[in-house]
Symmetry: C2
Subunit: 209 residues, 2 copies
Amino acid sequence: MLSVTEIKDLFPLFETNLLKEIEKNADIIEFAEGEDLMKSGQNIRYTILLKEGLVKIYREDEEGNEIFMYHLEAGQACALSIMCAVQNRTSEIKAVAVKPTKVYAIPVNLVEQWMRDYRSWYQFILSTYRARFEELLNTIDAIAFKNMDERLVIYLKKHSEISNDKTISLTHSQIAAELSTSREVVSRLLKKLAEKGLIKVNRQNIEIN
Amino acid sequence: MLSVTEIKDLFPLFETNLLKEIEKNADIIEFAEGEDLMKSGQNIRYTILLKEGLVKIYREDEEGNEIFMYHLEAGQACALSIMCAVQNRTSEIKAVAVKPTKVYAIPVNLVEQWMRDYRSWYQFILSTYRARFEELLNTIDAIAFKNMDERLVIYLKKHSEISNDKTISLTHSQIAAELSTSREVVSRLLKKLAEKGLIKVNRQNIEIN
DNA sequence: TTACTCGTGTGACATATATCACCGTCTTTC
DNA sequence: GAAAGACGGTGATATATGTCACACGAGTAA
């Protein structure tokens, strides 16, 4: 059962009445680690607020290329779920739960209704858009202006911060896929970073100093 | 003076009352060719709808690197100005008028007010976000997954479409700057495209076949 | 006319990244 | 313990792009 206080902890700026509306109208959907949030298109009629867990958002093109863009954490919303909903077409975005994840699913018509009724909701939706927009701009910065070694450092830092862990449990292949490069390149760059003393490379994981 | 029918031509989906509100409350601001729409931060307290002209949106980083992302045409809105306006923050993008340009400037508080009062406004704002978001995703596709020759072709096509002109009046240096590469690379790739018969390269301009 | 600037063409070379081949080591499974 | 598969290291080489140097012609200013 949903609890108002639980929701309030995640979304402290929401008005009390809005919290009650969420409690009354949102479904909770759970995703296992590794599961794709957009898989069947079923969530397209909902906007998704992350209750707990961690989601990674990727861009995919037609040829199967793929690149990691940003994380979604508890208390954040998936900006794309609204857009996809209205457009009613499959998105070229992949959203994967990297931890066991629970979300609040809000029916699209209520999203619109609440925009009128609750100023805090309006603010929240807008700041969500803005935040995602900025993430995309940062992604563009990285791939347009930075070399792979810098991108790798940024990537490692972000993953360390988000999981709040100096040890990053990813294989070189996984990192390569997310940066859209090859395993060999990642291995070599990691080696260089290790030589500089910035990290320690182990099997299956990397420690940041 | 603003005219309702003029606005209606550009924004045919807006309700009559909304058109009247715009007529009553929007200022028109003009920009000369080459002028920066965001220069002084003054427009940050407004949301901008393009009345006529053409605007190019760039991403800039701290080191002065720059890359072209997308165009804004008449009838479109600057998504960032909405976000910046509502949240009262400065942005890290550059918006330059590439033709003499006129915009409707809508005070921020009205943007929010109209979200409640006019469904067509709500729809318009959301579809603006969606459209810009997709532009950014396309930009990411191009720089992450495509080689410079493909990006160049995409760039030339888009510029030809938007200006509705088979002749693109840009120097190789300008193109290079917008693709964030060097003039020599652009010159060589253009030569290859010319050899394939796709374009004709002249001094100061390029014709698409 | 001369000189100068701008846009462009091009060879030579540097660098970053991609790709291929192959090997060793660790883990899992039987 | 043996086999198989996942992970990672590394040399050789290919390719795309960046950088430098310089030349050349068109237009423009002096």
